[in-house]
C-alpha cells in the first residue's frame, strides 16, 4: 500500500505519523510552503486524508482532491470535516469512538474535583511557600452536587456513571428525551443549567450546538455554578464566559478546550476558580496509541476492501 497517498492535515501524534509513513505514501500538509500549489501538483496522488480536532477536511479540501476516497479522523469529534460534502461525493469518513471515552470522562471528573476542591490552586499555594504562613481555606464539597450533562452519548454516559459514585444526582439535555434512561431530562439547556450545580458539555459540535452555552445559560448556572467543557471550544460563547467569571456571575470553570486553541483568554490566568488544560481529554499514551491503531486499521480496511472498523459516513 505504499503507493497510496495519505495527506496528514497537521502534526498530531508521532506514533501515528510513523505508522502512516511506513505503510503509505505520507504527505505532511503542514510542511508545505504553498498549500494551493501543493494540492494542484499532488491532487491525483492523494486518496486519503487523516485529520483531528484542529484540522480535517473542509469542503474546499475535498473539492481539491478528486481521488479522495476516505477521511479518517484522529478524534471522535467530526466538526472539522464537511460530512455533507463527503456523503455527496461517496467519500467514507471514520473517527475514533469508544477508545477515548473513559479518558475523557475521567478528565471531566478530574476537572470537577480540581475546580470545586481547588486542587491546582492548593498545589500552587504549597509550592509558593505560602502554607507556612497558615490559612484555613474551605473549598466546596463535590459529593452530592447536581451534575447536568449536555449530550448523553458515550462520553456523557461515562461521566454520569462516575459522578453517580460520588452520589451526584444526574440530569441531562439532549435533542430528544431518552426513555430508557432514568436521569432527569430537561428540554432546554437553560432549564438544565438552572437546576444543576455543575454543567458539563459532552455533545458533538455542529451548527446547532455552536455556542450552546451562551449568556442565558451562564446566567442560569449562576454565581455558585461551575461549567466543565470537554467538548469543543465553540460550544461556549467564550467572551461571555470570561466576563461572567471575571465578574463573579459564574462560580467557576474547568476547561479543556477553547475557541481559538492554543490561545486561552489571559483574563483567566489570574483566577483561582478555573482550571485550564491544553486539550488533553484523550491525551494518555495508551489511548492515543489505540486511536492511532484505529485510524490505521480503518485506512487498511478501506484499501483492502474490507468493512470499515468505525465508519461515520
Amino acid at each position: 500500500m505504499d503507493s497510496i497517498g495519505v495527506l496528514m492535515a497537521c502534526p498530531m501524534n508521532s506514533y501515528l505519523e510513523q505508522q502512516l509513513d511506513k505503510r503509505f505514501k505520507l504527505f505532511r500538509f503542514w510542511t508545505v510552503p504553498d498549500k494551493s500549489l501543493f494540492l494542484a501538483s499532488n491532487k491525483d496522488s492523494i486518496q486519503a486524508v487523516v485529520g483531528n480536532a484542529s484540522a480535517g477536511a473542509d469542503a474546499e479540501l475535498v473539492e481539491a482532491l478528486p481521488k479522495l476516497e476516505i477521511v479518517a479522523s484522529f478524534s471522535v469529534g467530526l466538526d472539522k470535516i464537511d460530512l455533507a460534502k463527503c456523503k455527496e461525493k461517496g467519500i467514507r469518513v471514520t473517527n475514533t469512538p469508544d477508545v477515548l471515552t473513559e479518558d475523557v470522562a475521567d478528565l471531566a471528573i478530574g476537572l470537577m474535583l480540581a475546580v470545586l476542591r481547588k486542587l491546582c490552586e492548593s498545589d500552587r499555594y504549597v509550592r509558593s511557600g505560602k502554607w507556612k504562613k497558615g490559612d484555613y481555606v474551605l473549598t466546596t464539597k463535590f459529593t452530592g452536587k447536581e451534575v447536568g450533562i449536555i449530550g448523553l452519548g458515550r462520553i456523557g454516559m461515562a461521566i454520569a456513571k462516575r459522578a453517580e459514585a460520588f452520589s451526584c444526582p444526574i440530569s441531562y439535555y439532549s435533542r430528544t428525551k431518552k426513555p430508557e434512561i432514568n436521569y432527569k431530562y430537561y428540554p432546554s439547556v437553560v432549564e438544565l443549567a438552572a437546576h444543576c450545580d455543575i454543567l458539563v458539555v459532552a455533545c458533538p459540535l455542529t451548527k446547532e450546538t455552536h455556542h450552546i452555552v451562551n449568556r442565558d445559560v451562564i446566567n442560569a448556572l449562576g454565581p455558585k455554578g461551575v461549567l466543565i467543557n470537554i467538548g469543543r471550544g465553540p460550544h461556549v460563547d467564550e467572551p461571555e464566559l470570561v466576563s461572567a467569571l471575571v465578574e463573579h456571575r459564574l462560580g467557576g470553570a474547568g476547561l479543556d478546550v477553547f475557541e481559538n486553541e492554543p490561545y486561552v483568554p489571559e483574563e483567566l490566568f489570574g483566577l483561582d476558580n478555573v482550571v485550564l488544560l491544553p486539550h488533553v481529554g484523550s491525551g494518555t499514551v495508551e489511548t492515543r496509541e489505540a486511536m492511532a491503531d484505529l485510524v490505521i486499521g480503518n485506512l487498511e480496511a478501506h484499501f483492502q476492501k474490507k468493512p470499515l472498523l468505525t465508519p461515520v459516513v
Binding site: 473513559e102 500552587r124 474551605l138 459529593t143 459514585a165 494518555t284
Partner: protein
Amino acid sequence: MESQLPQERSKLRTKDLPQVLVMKPPPLLTLFEDKFISTKFQLLKAWESTLPLDQFLTTYAGSVRAVLCSGASPVTPHIIRLLPSVQFVVTASAGINHIDLNECRRLGIAVANAAAVFSDDAADAAVGLLIDVLRKISVADRFVRRGLWPAMGDYPFGSKVIISLFVCFTQESWDCRTWKHRSAVAKRLEAFGCTVLYNSRKPKPWVPYPFYSNVHELACGSDVLVVCCGLTAETRHMINREVMVALGKQGIIVNVARGAIIDEKEMVVCLVHGEIGGAALDVFENEPDVPKQLLQLDNVVLTPHRAVFTPEGFMAACDLVVANLEAFFEDKPLLSPLIDE
C-alpha cells in the same frame, strides 16, 4: 430572683454548665464558633489565658470531665494526669493519633471522633488527587497559565486512570458499621473501572475485595497505593523504601491520611530517582514544611492538608462533636465512639 438583671441570670446559668476543656481551638471552632454554643455545656478556653498550659489546667481544669482536642492540642498521658476528672475526649477530626488511646482505655476514658462526616470529602480529595497526578492536571494548568501552549505545542501525555488496574489501600479500624463510610474511596474508584485490593491488620469478611496480609505484597500487585488508615505505632513509616520499590517505576502513592505513615525522606529519594512514578500528597511528616525537592517535581501534586476542608464537612463535624458532648453530659450513648478492635 426577680431583682436580678437578665444578664446576671444568664451568667448564673452559664456558671452551672459543665465545662469542656479546649487547649487550642481546632479549625472548626475558629471558623464556626457559634455552633458550639450549647445549653448543655460551655467551653473552657485554655488558649485565652496567659498562664502556661500546665498551670492553667492545674488551676482551672480540676473538675473538667470532657475535652475537645485536635492535632494541635494532643491528649497525652501528661495532660490526662493534669485532668483528674476527665471521662470523655472528643476530637474534631477523623484522625486520632494525637490521643493516647492506651492511657484512655486504661482509665476508662471514652473517646469519640468525627471520621464519619469527613469520609466523603476525604474520598473526593483522594480521587481528585489521583486523577490530577495521573493526568497531570495541575502541571498542565501551570503550563497554560505561563502562556506556554502556543509556544510549545501540546503538553506531554499523562497516563490512563483505569489502566491502573490495581488500586489498593490499607485500612485499620474498619468494622461493619463504619464500612459504609470507609469504603468511600473504593466505591468511587470502582466507577472508573479500577480493581480494588486492600490490606488491613485482619481480613474483614464483609469487605468484597481481595485481602493482602502485608503492605509489601499489596504494593507488588498494585499500580496505585491509596493510604487511608490511621497513624499508630504499627503504621508509622509502614510505606517504606521496600514497599515503594515494590510499587515500582510507574507506581503512584496517594496520601490523605497522615504524613508519618510514609517514610518521607525515602519517598523523596524514590521520586527524585524515578523509583516510583509519582505521588499526590495532602499530608506531610512536618507540616507545614514540605521537602524542597518535591517543589521542583512535576510528577507530584501537593495540597496543604485540606482534604476535609469544606464548609459542609466542617458544619457536619461541628454538629457531630456538639451532639457527642451533649449526649455525654446527658448520660446518653455517644454518637461516634471509637470502636475498640
